[in-house]
Subunit: 302 residues, 4 copies
Amino acid sequence: MSLSPEQRAEIEAQRATIASTRRTVANGMEAQLYTAHEVLDHGFVRVIDYMGDDAAICQAARVSYGKGTRSVSNDEGLIRYLMRHWHSTPFEMCEVKFHVKLPVFVARQWIRHRTANVNEYSARYSILDREFYIPAPDALAAQSTVNNQGRGALLEGEEAARVLEVLKGDAARCYDNYEAMLSQDGQKGLARELARMNLPANIYTQWYWKVDLHNLFHFLRLRADMHAQYEIRVYAETICRVVADWVPLAYKAFEDYRLGGVALSATGMACIRRMVNGETVTQENSGMSKGEWREFEALLNG
Amino acid sequence: MSLSPEQRAEIEAQRATIASTRRTVANGMEAQLYTAHEVLDHGFVRVIDYMGDDAAICQAARVSYGKGTRSVSNDEGLIRYLMRHWHSTPFEMCEVKFHVKLPVFVARQWIRHRTANVNEYSARYSILDREFYIPAPDALAAQSTVNNQGRGALLEGEEAARVLEVLKGDAARCYDNYEAMLSQDGQKGLARELARMNLPANIYTQWYWKVDLHNLFHFLRLRADMHAQYEIRVYAETICRVVADWVPLAYKAFEDYRLGGVALSATGMACIRRMVNGETVTQENSGMSKGEWREFEALLNG
Amino acid sequence: MSLSPEQRAEIEAQRATIASTRRTVANGMEAQLYTAHEVLDHGFVRVIDYMGDDAAICQAARVSYGKGTRSVSNDEGLIRYLMRHWHSTPFEMCEVKFHVKLPVFVARQWIRHRTANVNEYSARYSILDREFYIPAPDALAAQSTVNNQGRGALLEGEEAARVLEVLKGDAARCYDNYEAMLSQDGQKGLARELARMNLPANIYTQWYWKVDLHNLFHFLRLRADMHAQYEIRVYAETICRVVADWVPLAYKAFEDYRLGGVALSATGMACIRRMVNGETVTQENSGMSKGEWREFEALLNG
Amino acid sequence: MSLSPEQRAEIEAQRATIASTRRTVANGMEAQLYTAHEVLDHGFVRVIDYMGDDAAICQAARVSYGKGTRSVSNDEGLIRYLMRHWHSTPFEMCEVKFHVKLPVFVARQWIRHRTANVNEYSARYSILDREFYIPAPDALAAQSTVNNQGRGALLEGEEAARVLEVLKGDAARCYDNYEAMLSQDGQKGLARELARMNLPANIYTQWYWKVDLHNLFHFLRLRADMHAQYEIRVYAETICRVVADWVPLAYKAFEDYRLGGVALSATGMACIRRMVNGETVTQENSGMSKGEWREFEALLNG
């Protein structure tokens, strides 16, 4: 349970404050505002602010393409056209700001997406809370035996118990020592910017993260993908649900063309043309390596 | 006069639509929303949307610096501290979207600021309107005789008249020919993407331009500067007034530290220390070149 | 003919200067260095500097993925893997700097790619040369009747002659007037930053353009595409040939996965699965709109 | 000692390979290439590649400003002019790629500079080495009593010993457990992407980091500053020495205008004008708050 009673009260107060505005309002997103969606054991995602909606995407596109866009008469068709043809600038006209609480090792992956604005809680200035990510039993996986970057079967029984014991024990001991180094009776106490280096990567941090819709879609395509690490994927999936409420037409197009879409090489497309024409194509006559062919077959089988 | 009666009616309609929101509302900016500020002879700037206010800057800073910021108790002091110490990320938490109509040669300078989102009217898709920037008499300046990039005295009398004649005549002729190339009785008409290349750089274009407050301040520092070209400076000055209504505390800090602030070299600062101590410093004993000394003296004389 | 004898002599001198370096050297690119490839009637592209090669891409990938990449034993396989799985950062480790001379209306499209460094010839500081793009007969096309942003049939006979006459005439007159406004016997002359606004968009400008390989590939995918405007496509195609000499393995992967590759929606991929299984799929039972189906059929027919 | 004999041999081999190039060569940087500068207890910085030199900065500036720059006849004067007037694009024309080994908590600060390219060693794919940053006695500081983000006096005697004991003990135990979780006789072993979360923030990571000179100067101004955390400052200072060898004129200008330069507010500059004119200015009549006045006095006293 990630939220304290104080936090819940603060969120309720934020949600209760209503004002008038001349701006575009996305009703689905108003319902989301400030609500914290719990993720992992102590994390959350919540919307702090947003700008724009599906209509703002179309409005920007119509500025660019002027009378040229009249042929695509409705908003949904226009948004699908923009997504299909990689017109990214109209999607950049929407912006969203999240408050996210997440383990440090997840934050380290997340920050690699550079086209966003971030204000992270600073352990130079402040003392981190005693909150660590400890995987639930269904996330405690062994190394994959076929994939260098993935997970295999779940750990079970004694092995699972032993691993959980280690993670909990080291987190507790490191945090105890962090506190003890910071402040000691009759002693000076180590600077916060130094003491924090004793904390393991499953400690939680938090940040405000602001991004435009085009770059958010790029993030979601990579991080809501089944090959992404589980611990970041659950954040991405939570954000997907928020975006579906915010810009339903754009999200639907994103789902069809990006999240569920596939990129085929020229070689792969040539194989498909032969297959549709009834030809039997095998790895040997495909022009692909064994690895590529394996991935290609997986795509064809869905 | 840049706005047609239709445009004025549309703006009134946009301004009349009021909705409820849970988001942060900046009242000064609500008053600005959609209103078109006229710039040059046919241009304008108007706010289409915004996110955040002074309080949002402080909120983001307090997430970053946590309890560390309690010592700066009030918002104004905190914002000044952030500006003085080049903490840029809290200012990135505010975002604004403008609709701008501007001459192409101004747009070409403007677009050099890369950290913004743009949707420009496309002359590949659509036909440009017959609107050209013709300088007012008080903007019709000769080349500076001391500055390679600047302006000198105003043109007067016959010379001014002759130059205006040329600008108007060429604009009209080029536009007539643009129209004639696009569409001709019994002929095919040149593609729009080709015909547009006959149009001079004082024709007006328009775009949606979205930027965060930190990058907007950077733009304004360079373009509201007295060395900026007059035709872009008037846009920057208009935007300055809008920003002052939106985030009054941040704008005031920006004015003091950036717009009115000065950057001194180590050499310049050493001279100032000597001068404050009563020493007479000249170019010869300053350690500066003649050009640097000239600029330094100008700073000292304000 | 875009190069003067002086420019040719300068290029020869640059090419003749050879030095020793400890850096990675790409031999195919050394042969390209400084050579100007002519584009359109007065434009060119030439390589001024570069950093990295195919091996540098692999080296960076192996830093990231460590022992994990040992399973992909050879460089070509690794580069294809990186391209196929959208691993962009290793490609960012290569950098290239071009000197490009191009018409202003092409420059305006080009600059929309923001993740690059640009130094453009400034008409505030300097006087532009009398060089305008005038389309060759095989580029003088009518507006497409089916595509709002494209070209249709070539203009012919009298119509072509008339259009060329207009373009040449307006360019010449505008440039004459530009010169006359700048400097006049016994008069002051208009400031360069103002006089330039009389010049049409087919005048040539030039710039240094520096970009990393990942962002260059993104530029080339969009601008070497058959839907790109012809006048920018010829630049992109010239750069494609340069890149093929620089990083042959990466270019080949780019050609297969991006330039020649296709992106299919989830809906489109589902149709392909049905077709491969022998089912007859039509627009009506495809789940696509008529426009999408038309594009999908075009992909299938290659 | 951060480098193994194998690494030293590899570096020697890289340095021994010399090739011919037509590119610009910076001799001071050639001497630097591949050499590892040791930083902290196990870290290092070394140059892997570079593009451009002082002359390349001037060449780009002269493309932009054309004949306008002839008045600044020599390269040093031109570079100082560009730096003084915030002309950033010519500096963007130089690029450098470093290989850096650094503690994770330093990497987390470093990565906040978004305008760079990074390939980091991935603990999802590979196993991290047993190397932790343990502060030297002269870096083991207490929390500052006057500054929320800084350090105060050094820890001494028993307290220092106790803190070092804790840091070493926790690092060793966490790493032992990391190894034990990864692989166990007769058990599956935890996935690498999960096991790594047990490692504290003083473990070393490494990356390739590529950046242009303008953005590198921005990084160095903030991180070579005396207010930066010591553990990142030593990296910045090492890079400063490398850059001084690479582009000596640009580095000297950077040192004078940025690193040693000061930014004064309009209010501060007005005070200086009064002081130079012999007036006595105090906090009370300065228009500054107490905090600002304290910082202003510190500037004046150098």
